[in-house]
Symmetry: C3
Subunit: 360 residues, 3 copies
């Protein structure tokens, strides 16, 4: 499946890690730009974002019929995936599980945080490599910073290349989350010229949410996107993001007046307060966030074609009365995660052509 | 699969919950009386009990051959089930797992009790709805009273109907347990005119066992059944059940003389002392239950066609020497749970006709 | 599948347990020497070791192609396996999981140590028997000494024979571990006349490692094997093994000079210090083991055709710089475990002929 033209296998760990993240990215694909491993969001560009989106849509459509669904299940019926989730995330786990099942993969899991250190003195690398013995793909979520990358290098330099997908490492990268947000925007705007030229409004705790940061970065791949960051001072977006947008020449605004921004928005991306990052004093509780909630009144101000997104879980920031509105796409957004992850795995194992050629 | 004629989706939560449990039941089926959700034992009537039993028997027979088994596995190969078991029950879990596997469903699980409250401030409804994004069926066991029912309503009123099966909620309803007991009786008496007219003897802790209560209620659907409740005073059946039987005109006896009852029994339903419901003083330990045990002597008194049932686990109330007797059907009873659960799921997803029409 | 000529079902538990382990072995196979249960390493002899090895190799070759792999997946698609692992071992668990998946079995698991004692007063036998209701095979790892054997007898004497595979019980037997070590030797020497006449060198903590003891016993089935046990005095192999080798007329040496032994070795079997068996004083820390490590210098002394094995996990006893050498077969050894376990299960369910007859 995975062809021999793997660049990473020709490089020492020292050479590799001297490169910037952006420059490491090509080494994780093969010479035909197929993903071998997915470790960083920096591996995405407009071309592969569009391609994965197209593939996800085809998979989603095929899955509507039993015939299409059963065909998908034959594609990787000879492969076993290992979901190595020593850092727990039930949602990401279940989304990848479903993605693997859609393609007919057999799945095994390691979820116990103690498993990776089960044996005193064994290195994390050895431990993951043992698990790789039984499988053809490792989806990996761990607190150990850099382990996914290290395993990608190690397995690319072993007798048995097993692809690694990073499913989130600590506060760090979680590339498939950004992918599903982009796909939700692609899908929402598919009849109105795609993401180019759209106005995306981010609302809530923009400082500490990983998803907002990643999505803002990836939107840099599109033309004439405008972004507005709506948040109280204490939670406003970080200056590193703004510097990046300045450098890319992307137009943005900062605002505290949510209602004034809604009428021009094409997408509203709501977020919750990330108080798990609070210090001991619990600074979040002192911030009044109630002006940054979305309810029935805000719904009236929203354009007909616009969408409301949320990475979930939500608290009070979106009223449940909004759930029934067809512009509320946050449940669909979760489900999109499953489709893009299936598309990504199909790409890695080179069964994408079979999918795109399928017709009932 | 699930047709559009879903009554529940046309009704507000307030209207729905004003109804008695009995009157809510029809709203959980569609207009052709197919189960959409299974939440209460009150959804069962003689017709659907017989039908599920017939379907379970066909599935059981088909599963004896590789050809039949492989055919069953194709029926729901395009569906994913979520076993949401935040209240643990390994046995019920494994029984539903096997039922899903028999029909070729792909299965994912949420078993960690902390998962549902993984995110501070997220509602239980949102949490389950996220899990529903990845699946086509939710089998749900939770301590949260009424959650299964609430999710059934919520998902019937969403863009994506996902059926809910209640696999036990707290001290409350556990409808598939009652179903397997009825099926075990159907199967045991299939050559002798079915359940009508039979004498069912309940023995042990009849006050606190949920299974005895449910089965006694469901037996009300059959003609000329006689029940005897054999227990020490402290554990005798509750007066609410007796009132129900009186109202239905069902004949019953109370007894403390086990041996005198055995010779006329068609089924003996043994139960263990449910001391997990004891108060701090441990009142169960003070009750002498040894006269309500079944051993070799009791076996001699039992009719040839009669059966001994037990919901398991057992303690001393049935001697292991009885296990080898062909009238001891408690292991088969466990296995019957798997068959009726498969039949129920087949009914929900409308693959029952394909099953009943199968011939090798 | 499993034929009726099961010897164990004709014997009482008392008769059975009066026999020596060696004499019990035949009762766990059927009249055509097919395994019904696998409980002890004493069930292996040269014939069935060679046969399982041959079957494992065919499965391994078939799994290289999608066609072969998909064919294997049809063989036991009508069977469900229960992985009952109340004594944790992630690696053994995953290896059996993969083995079952290779043959298309559906898998369910019981891994929580508290599950087997979930119900106060229920016997372990009843508990496992409940789980057997839902499955066609039980792979069992438990701390309860003798439970696997007892269940094998019990289920052979029930209406529904479910095979038991012992996946390790306490400090006791772990027969499939020994099987994978033998298979790794068979495979390593397949072009040079097999295991007969080879020199196997065991290194490290030979006193407390279960794998070394089992492998030494099984090597007694081969001709003209020579063994050298290289260890500090404190960790040297037990006298019971040496007595066994003496009785079998097998040639062996004890040594503390690792380097002098390497040049004549055909296989080096490295092991880690098993300090989990230490007493409170931690006697292992007092032993200098550094002369018993394998690194670049040792590699230079090793014959071209020889192999380095390790049951893993490793600590410092093998340098990671050795990993890239083609004689380092310890990762392959893990993977071999998966192949021999699949072969064993194929043998039990009598699909071995279909496998051996397969040609693309």
């Amino acid at each position: 499946m995975i062809n021999n033209l793997v660049r990473l296998g020709k490089m020492s760990w020292e050479e590799f890690t001297k490169l910037s993240t952006k420059n490491r990215a090509p080494y994780l694909s093969d010479d035909s730009d197929r993903f071998v491993h997915l470790i960083y969001a920096q591996q995405f560009n407009r071309d592969n974002l569009e391609y994965i989106g197209q593939l996800a849509t085809k998979i989603r459509m095929m899955a509507k019929s039993k015939e299409g669904s059963d065909f998908l299940s034959t594609l990787l019926s000879d492969k076993r995936a290992m979901l190595y989730f020593t850092q727990p995330s039930t949602r990401t786990f279940l989304s990848f599980m479903a993605a693997c099942q859609i393609l007919g993969m057999k799945v095994a899991e390691v979820r116990d945080a103690t498993t990776s250190s089960e044996y005193k003195g064994e290195s994390a690398e050895d431990s993951v490599r043992v698990f790789s013995s039984y499988s053809d793909l490792i989806v990996m979520r761990t607190k150990l910073k850099g382990l996914a990358e290290r395993m990608a290098w190690l397995l690319s330099n072993s007798k048995r290349l097993v692809p690694i997908i990073n499913a989130g490492s600590g506060k760090d990268q979680h590339p498939t989350q950004a992918l599903l947000d982009i796909y939700t925007l692609q899908r929402s705007f598919e009849d109105i010229n795609g993401i180019d030229g759209k106005h995306i409004v981010f609302v809530g705790d923009l400082l500490r949410g990983r998803t907002v940061r990643s999505l803002a970065f990836l939107l840099g791949n599109y033309n004439d996107v405008k972004m507005t960051f709506v948040a109280p001072d204490a939670f406003q977006i970080g200056s590193d993001i703004l510097e990046y947008l300045d450098k890319k020449g992307i137009q943005y605004d900062l605002s505290q007046n949510f209602k004034s921004v809604i009428p021009t928005a094409d997408a509203i991306y709501m977020t919750r307060v990330q108080d798990e990052w609070d210090n001991e004093e619990g600074e979040s509780a002192k911030v009044d966030i109630s002006n940054f909630w979305f309810g029935d009144e805000e719904l009236k101000l929203l354009q007909k074609h616009a969408v409301i997104m949320h990475p979930l879980p939500r608290r009070e920031e979106i009223s449940t009365s909004v759930d029934q509105d067809k512009r509320a796409v946050y449940w669909r957004q979760m489900r999109n995660g499953m489709w893009v992850r299936a598309a990504l795995i199909a790409n890695i194992f080179a069964v994408d052509t079979e999918i795109l050629n399928f017709s009932e």
